[in-house]
């Protein structure tokens, strides 16, 4: 059960899983939750009714899975979480979790920025959709690093809803506020918002990437284009291509083999120096 298709990232994630299923000739029952938890719960329960062998899903939010996971466990179906974790009292309710660590992504972005600016920055932050797990965790990780650098401060922080349009609109407003004029760095919770903000910065007559250092998360193709053009400074990768890993795990779980409870995904941090070289290889 997938969250939705709210971004190119998510779409790449879906196609990776679907392609792998086709390659392995596994019957995949795919369900899209339109970003609503209640839809996802319905889908999970319907999977139980259909008597599937393994259930994999990317939870929309962390909480609220206790009853349905218990029901799935009762039905004897193993669960693999992808991409996002859940908060449950009994970790035995799911077999394993494969996916990125959003907090760590926030930390990486923070570390990179601290290094780039020598620990001195006036920061504007474009937050993701309020209440969403990546928005909460990325902020948490980033602020953790700032705690160690007293001269790095966030002076403006607003939600850009993970979209380009909102990212641009909010950045426009930022640039006109008194604090906004002193901003030297921008942290965006995803690339799309950063790409929107870049346009706003250019329209204000400033040079993105120079006057304002920009770091964001995801590593989508357009971000690499922007890095290659010198407008974006750094993108922390969040790898959606987990299809192969996921099906390895699912097969193991279904066969009853022991699996680690937490499987990380291989991810990197890219800046302008690597962008041009990496661009041709980006799949999403």
């Amino acid at each position: 059960s997938q969250v939705g298709a709210e971004s190119g990232w998510r779409t790449a994630n879906t196609s990776s899983i679907k392609a792998e299923a086709a390659k392995r000739q596994v019957t995949l029952r795919f369900s899209d939750a339109q970003q609503k938890q209640e839809n996802q719960i319905k889908a999970l329960r319907s999977f139980v009714a259909q008597g599937v062998d393994v259930i994999a899903f990317s939870p929309v939010v962390e909480t609220g899975w206790e009853p349905v996971l218990r029901e799935i466990k009762q039905a004897g179906i193993p669960v693999v979480l992808t991409d996002r974790a859940v908060a449950v009292s009994d970790p035995g309710l799911f077999a394993t979790f494969i996916g990125s660590d959003f907090v760590e992504e926030g930390r990486r972005a923070g570390r990179w920025l601290a290094q780039k600016t020598g620990g001195k920055a006036v920061i504007a932050e474009l937050v993701g959709t309020p209440g969403s797990a990546p928005a909460i965790d990325r902020k948490k990780g980033f602020e953790e690093i700032l705690g160690a650098h007293p001269e790095m401060k966030i002076v403006l922080s607003q939600s850009g809803d993970f979209t380009r349009a909102k990212g641009k609109e909010v950045m426009e407003a930022f640039l006109k506020s008194p604090q906004g004029r002193q901003v030297t760095a921008l942290f965006a919770h995803n690339d799309d918002m950063a790409l929107g903000a870049i346009q706003a910065i250019e329209e204000a007559g400033l040079k993105p990437g120079q006057d304002i250092i920009i770091v964001s998360i995801d590593g989508v193709r357009d971000a690499f284009v922007a890095m290659a053009a010198g407008k974006l400074n750094c993108s922390v990768e969040c790898n959606p291509l987990i299809g192969p890993q996921l099906f390895d795990l699912a097969a193991a779980v279904a066969a009853g083999q022991p699996v680690p409870h937490r499987v990380p995904v291989a991810e990197g941090v890219y800046d302008q120096s690597q962008a041009a070289a990496a661009l041709p290889n980006r799949q999403y």
Partner: protein
């Protein structure tokens, strides 16, 4: 130089209020004035206005630019609402228009003019679909347009393959981002659309027909009025307005984001139309009111960004402003206010 600009701005605003006195548009305009006054007093940097790169630059300009989409949707919705209907699908239609234009440019390598045309045709078709359901099949508008609200975004995503399609076309970019006479080009688009709509409704009998249908469809039909045709047209019109808004949205960020373009904007546009004085029950409509209503909504959004109000709770002030704006319009409320103020005088 700041201060004389303020003075001129407020003088103009006051003149506008004076001109609008006794008319329906007065009350939303007053609400807008109060909100702007609040900003003048409490929001630092809100009223700064300067010339940068050969055009005006400042928050008020942003409001005009970003508000263009709501104003355009508001125009279309005002007519729809006046017939007693509603169109929930305008946000999805925006996404379709943007997606069509982007793919026409990127995948089909069409010229920008053709891309724009294709997008508008797609939007008109979306509107025609709504019109068909409402006017011909007589499905209640809220449900009829809900269908396209859900499916339309899917269609837009189908067109873009779920990806954000980025393009570099200068014409479309100009539409969303360009400057004309020192002001955002979107403002020109809005004024053109407004002028055309006003001309169309007030210089022909369309306005009367729409209001008659909204007042009583039965009575209109008994008078021989082509109620279905008018209703159909109104939805097509709303679709086209949404199409233009969708092109602006895509042009503004040089990309088509099928998943987010115009998301929840239908609500803002409905609020704009209703705050502007048009009743959801149908009947009398106020185009200028819708524009003012849209500006009110956009000013509010921008104010909240500027005040750095956390997005989680930003809906609370939004709620309060909406309630205040509709209270201001309520004769009962105004009567109560004046009664309380002047017991001695009366």
């Amino acid at each position: 130089m700041g201060s004389w600009i303020h003075l001129v701005f407020w003088l103009l605003f006051a003149a506008g209020l004076w001109a609008a006195r006794g008319r329906t548009v007065f009350w939303p305009l007053l609400a807008l004035g109060l909100l702007l006054l609040f900003n003048e007093l409490f929001t630092p940097g809100f009223f700064a206005l300067e010339v940068r790169g050969g055009h005006l630059y400042g928050t008020r300009i942003d409001i005009l630019n970003e508000g263009a989409k709501i104003m355009l949707l508001g125009l279309g919705l005002t007519l729809v609402i006046a017939t007693g209907g509603v169109d929930l699908s305008v946000g999805a239609t925006m996404a379709i228009a943007g997606a069509v234009a982007a793919q026409a440019l990127v995948a089909a390598h069409l010229s920008p003019g053709l891309a724009i045309l294709a997008a508008l045709v797609a939007a008109a078709l979306a509107g025609a679909w709504n019109g068909l359901l409402v006017a011909v099949l007589r499905i209640p508008p809220i449900v009829a347009t809900l269908i396209l609200m859900v499916a339309g975004r899917g269609i837009a995503q189908l067109i873009t393959g779920g990806q954000i399609i980025t393009f570099a076309d200068p014409v479309l970019g100009y539409l969303g981002n360009g400057w004309f006479l020192g002001l955002p080009f979107t403002l020109t688009v809005v004024l053109l659309a407004f002028g055309l709509t006003a001309l169309l409704t007030r210089r022909t009998a369309l306005g009367l027909f729409i209001e008659a249908i909204g007042e009583s469809e039965t009575a209109s039909r008994y008078t021989g009025l082509p109620a279905r045709t008018v209703k159909f047209f109104v939805y097509v019109f709303s679709g086209v307005c949404a199409g233009v808004a969708g092109l602006i949205a895509a042009g503004n960020i040089h990309s088509a984001d099928a998943n987010h373009a115009g998301l929840y904007l239908e609500l803002d546009a409905i609020i704009a139309a209703v705050v502007g004085g048009t009743s959801l029950a149908g009947g009398r409509f106020y185009l200028a009111g819708a524009l003012v209503g849209a500006l009110l909504m956009q000013t509010l959004t921008t104010t909240l960004y500027a005040l750095n109000v956390s997005a989680d709770v930003a809906t609370v002030p939004k709620a309060l402003v909406i309630l205040a704006a509709c209270l201001l319009q309520s004769p009962q409320f105004r009567a109560r206010l004046t009664r309380r103020k002047s017991p001695g005088a009366a």
